[in-house]
Symmetry: C2
Subunit: 211 residues, 2 copies
DNA sequence: GCCTACCTACCAATCGTTAGGTAGACTGTA
DNA sequence: TACAGTCTACCTAACGATTGGTAGGTAGGC
């Protein structure tokens, strides 16, 4: 509003994070941790407020539209970050499918766990129809987009036979979800072993030799 | 109480289904459909009662201990059925890993969808600690048991290199979960295609030839 | 004087749960 | 066959607790 030049673009519109106050940022971060950990329905606004050390009603200062808006902002942030992180990881990795997949897995492992299938199954039905659609689209684009490109590039290099890149992306995400789950259980194996096993499985299968 | 002989065992204790009235059976079936579809937290007892055409308080006649008991009975039934169904499917299939996996997938496809990862992520944290433990153990034993045996048998026949059968079972279940999810989305591909793609992926990977 | 970031106090709705009642089918006894 | 008693499978009515949400106030910094 301060600018008159119609061609001027606020610098912040070019970066991922628009103007968000420190206090709101803190709410978003804590909400992300809780929502991703236990799901939308299991976390009440009072739980969140208590974790923040404030009163529940104060949350409405930052998110006047309430719980669903807060959740959607959290989820949008999470998936936008994942899209950017996955693309950066792929870019930085050597141009081989295996390296790309390991890089993506490493990125996912470096972030707070997001249970994609679990979220889609339990959280979406509780949201409003528009909210569910928006979350679904955001999540789908963010998670499948980078992987789709990765698989197509591998196919172009002759490294993989790819009938349906989205299907492959979905399978990869399912495997990552399985690893996330496995680690929450009384697991023995370290994440790195699970990840490498999953990637090798996806690349070569479990049939010995080339039978 | 009618029996005095301490070695006597009620015949019904030997079979899977203990005496359950038709009315209770109906409640269990409807509850299963709703809980598996939307999760524990998203279904209220009033939702369930409405689906049954009765009043919500009447549910306490069949399940005096309340919602959690009902849910645990539902889940226990589901997983016991899946264990038996998966084992039967494997037994009936030719003794090759691919046939066994396809048989298991076919069985899972023939039943109302159960989103394993989603359930574990969203429902367990809401249950009491004992309830969560019991569900977790039941689910784990039922889903992993038959698959573990299948993979070990395949390894013994030289059909697969199996470092950790439980890990493989987990990956397979993750893939099945992914398929279940994929089918709920605006999907194009029929289940059979998804299943065969997943099984071939698990067997041979996506690397062309035997590179 | 205004803006930020909270606060207290309350609300209606909904949750799981409890208490107590009842129509109708079934069972044993006279 | 008639009656009494019991059991099944519901019902109505209410409960306290918890939920997301609203209204209005306020301390402190710019």
């Amino acid at each position: 509003m301060k600018q008159i030049d119609p061609y001027f673009v606020e610098p912040r519109e070019l970066v991922a994070e628009p103007e968000i106050s420190d206090a709101k940022q803190r709410v978003l971060e804590t909400a992300e941790r809780l929502f991703m950990e236990k799901g939308y329905a299991a976390i009440t606004l009072r739980d969140l407020a208590e974790a923040l050390g404030i009163r529940q009603a104060s949350l409405y200062y930052h998110f006047p539209a309430g719980k669903e808006q807060l959740y959607i902002e959290v989820v949008t942030r999470v998936f936008e970050r994942h899209r950017a992180g996955m693309e950066a990881a792929i870019k930085a990795a050597p141009p081989r499918l295996r390296d790309g997949l390991l890089a993506v897995a490493a990125w996912l492992g470096s972030q707070p766990a997001v249970n994609f299938l679990g979220m889609m199954h339990a959280d979406l039905p509780v949201l409003s129809r528009e909210g569910a659609q928006r979350v679904s689209r955001t999540a789908y684009a963010a998670m499948f987009g980078p992987l789709r490109k990765l698989f197509l590039a591998a196919q172009a290099r002759g490294e993989a036979r790819v009938d349906n890149p989205d299907l492959l992306a979905g399978f990869f995400i399912s495997l990552m979800d399985g690893i996330t789950f496995s680690l929450t259980q009384q697991s023995h194996l370290p994440r790195q072993v699970l990840v490498e096993t999953a990637v090798d499985l996806l690349l070569h299968g479990i049939t010995p030799q080339s039978q």
